[in-house]
Symmetry: C2
Subunit: 416 residues, 2 copies
């Protein structure tokens, strides 16, 4: 019998209980031991639950219980999750978490602590919900060099973009719908500003390249600036706009990493990842492109990933699995985001018809290739530019202005 | 230093050497030990290779070498691969294989032997080449009940079907092209008759449901009967034809498993798996649909999966990983393939125009829903039937004949 505790009885926490109870027998078979939840930490009370006797409001009670060898942290947020996780690892308890903020901010420190104490700190559920991605990257792809990771890592923004692409909705309406359906929170900023996707690409990049990348070192753009005009030009170009977290090892040994909306070709495997689904592309030098697709969030998918980690912990109670590890961040490891050239879509606005706008834009960008969207209106023009760094684009803005043009938006074009 | 031997220096074997040599340092880091190939078994000679001193023609030499703790079997075929693998496991050596025939035919026996001797028998590369699928099913999805697995498991047939769908080629021409490009062998029967896909779905079903399924208990249809008319009707229906290996647990506790071409909706994640790529959908009760996509074959993808297994073996030299296991086959476990109802597409031929043919067909099948393909010609008609078992369809053939209609082909319609 393996005794565990669960910190937090919110969406994921209650899902963990549900999965453990519904699949009790098959899980015991796979873990080679029965898994028993001894304590649940939550400040709220749940008198109607059959297992309401398990609740405590006192973390110390869990920490001091020598029978509890595994703690599931599904509270979310940095504190007190971090203090609790650290205390558990110091006290000889392995920790399983779904908390991407915790892993993105404190992963290196907690992994080192786990390794030092011969414990496990596992977080399959922190990226991609129920999609297996942490283990495949660390284990199955162990014989590869990962050259690039690119993912649709946030279901809420993907739902919003899908509505904008498929039904011509504007951002505000699509967001409102997402909120009505419970896909977006009342304060949607962590999703729509790219913060959530940023934490996830940080975790994946840290794992794939062995060096911690902190979210604040990653340039992050959300989707709030994406208009239906941009969506229309993407369609004219032959693709769709997706919010992408991307990490690529450069030849100079530095990491190119950013979160931003990108034009994705319709031929790409990521182009068909719609609605609240996530899709993660891992490009390896030997495997080529491998794509993982599924529900990136939600109670049961996330909970099942947590429980799979718990099973793994139970099977390796007395040894660090050693499959997850990365060093702390290094200075100058992340390449400044605005110096790496990339194909870019540019939309300009100004006085005049689209032909005239494009002609003037071409004075500034002779290599511009024009796109004409359906329902294009006077006063706007769209075009693509080959291999240009953000820095250079910014420097050209005054020249555009001299032509009476405003740089209304620019969207990177993905190479996958 | 971990000493290993490689049985077979064909495409995969030479790839294993290439991956081990190119990624020597990073692999040693991940395995926590250097991996050294001590012997390679092959009857041929390779005097031009830098490591030609490692070759032997004598398996006994490898078997009797106590330093060799891990043997990589990449010869393919059932014999002598089976005898060699068994001998290794009996002699205390773990075995890693990419040999789907071996695993599909002898998996239960070899897994039991490995467990008995506290050794590992790993075969990530046997399904999906470089796509991680064996481990994710066994580990990450451990907290799920897998309700269904469906996959495009054979790259050669997928390439042929893609050419038929996208370029309107007929089967024979597409096969010829595949042979010219090296995607199909001179004797293509194992691919085009579905034998290869059958072995793979047997392995996945054995793993997901814990009971061995032997290939000869699985109804297997290839793609040789698929015509461009069928492809056209699939398009009119709103989808494409793919060769699918499918396994589904029925409510009666029996396994529905078969390999056959199927109509796949364009909305399905498997519809966009084109060319030589593989895609595998795993439907779990908690995770929902998870899809894995990538190159299902090829020297380096397959070799990298083999090497990842070797790394796992090195890290668990003295213990059975226990993640892979299934019981031997049970009688009456596989449901007869022709009694399970499924939506089906039917194409009939006969004298008369299509309207008249369909009218006559509807006398036999009142629930038929007509499809009209582009370039439809007199003498043919296509329609779908809801939920009908193969058995019932067969029983209706004489009635069709009475209407002057021949059942030219029928293709199952997937529910994913």
């Amino acid at each position: 019998m393996a005794e565990i505790a669960v910190l937090g009885h919110g969406v994921v926490g209650s899902g963990v209980l549900e999965v453990l109870l519904t699949h009790k027998d098959s899980i015991a078979k796979r873990a080679k031991e029965e898994i028993h939840v001894k304590r649940i930490l939550d400040l709220r009370e749940f008198p109607q639950l059959p297992y309401n006797g398990l609740f405590t409001k006192d973390f110390q009670e869990i920490l001091d219980d020598p029978e509890i060898k595994i703690v599931v942290e599904v509270m979310g947020g940095l504190e007190p999750a971090f203090s609790y996780t650290k205390a558990c690892l110091e006290k000889g308890k392995s920790v399983v978490t779904s908390n991407k903020e915790l892993v993105a901010q404190k992963g290196a420190e907690l992994l080192a602590l786990a390794q030092k104490n011969n414990l496990n700190f596992l977080f399959e559920a922190s990226v991609g919900g129920g999609i297996p991605i942490i283990r495949p990257i660390s284990q199955c792809l162990a014989a590869n060099e990962v050259t690039e990771i690119a993912g649709i890592l946030n279901g809420t923004t993907n739902f919003i973009l899908t509505k904008m692409i498929r039904e011509g909705m504007v951002f505000a309406d699509a967001l409102h719908l997402a909120q009505q359906l419970g896909y977006a929170e009342r304060d949607p900023s962590a999703d729509v500003e790219g913060v959530d996707a940023c934490r996830k690409i940080c975790i994946l990049a840290s794992l794939a390249y062995g060096t911690h990348v902190y979210p604040d070192s990653v340039h992050t753009e959300g989707i709030t600036a994406i208009t239906k005009e941009d969506v229309g030009y993407a369609s004219a170009w032959g693709g769709v706009i997706k919010l992408i977290g991307e990490a690529k090892m450069l030849e100079n040994g530095r990491l190119h990493i950013l979160v931003s909306p990108m034009f994705i070709s319709r031929e790409s495997q990521l182009a068909n990842v719609d609605d609240v689904f996530n899709g993660i592309l891992v490009r390896g030098d030997a495997t080529g492109d491998v794509v993982f697709y599924g529900k990136g969030a939600g109670k049961l998918p996330t909970a099942s990933a947590v429980v799979a980690d718990v099973i793994d912990c139970v099977r390796h109670l007395r040894s660090n699995r050693k499959i997850l590890y990365w060093e702390d961040a290094k200075p100058d490891y992340v390449e400044p985001w605005d110096v790496t050239p990339q194909d870019v879509f540019v939309r300009v606005t100004g006085e005049g018809d689209s032909d005239s706008l494009f002609d003037r834009a071409q004075q500034v960008f002779p290599k511009a290739v024009r796109l004409i969207r359906r329902d294009e209106e006077p006063g706007e023009a769209g075009f693509t530019l080959p291999q240009i760094a953000e820095e250079e684009l910014r420097e050209k803005e005054p020249d555009l202005e001299k032509q009476g043009l405003r740089l209304a938006n620019r969207v990177r074009i993905a190479d996958f």
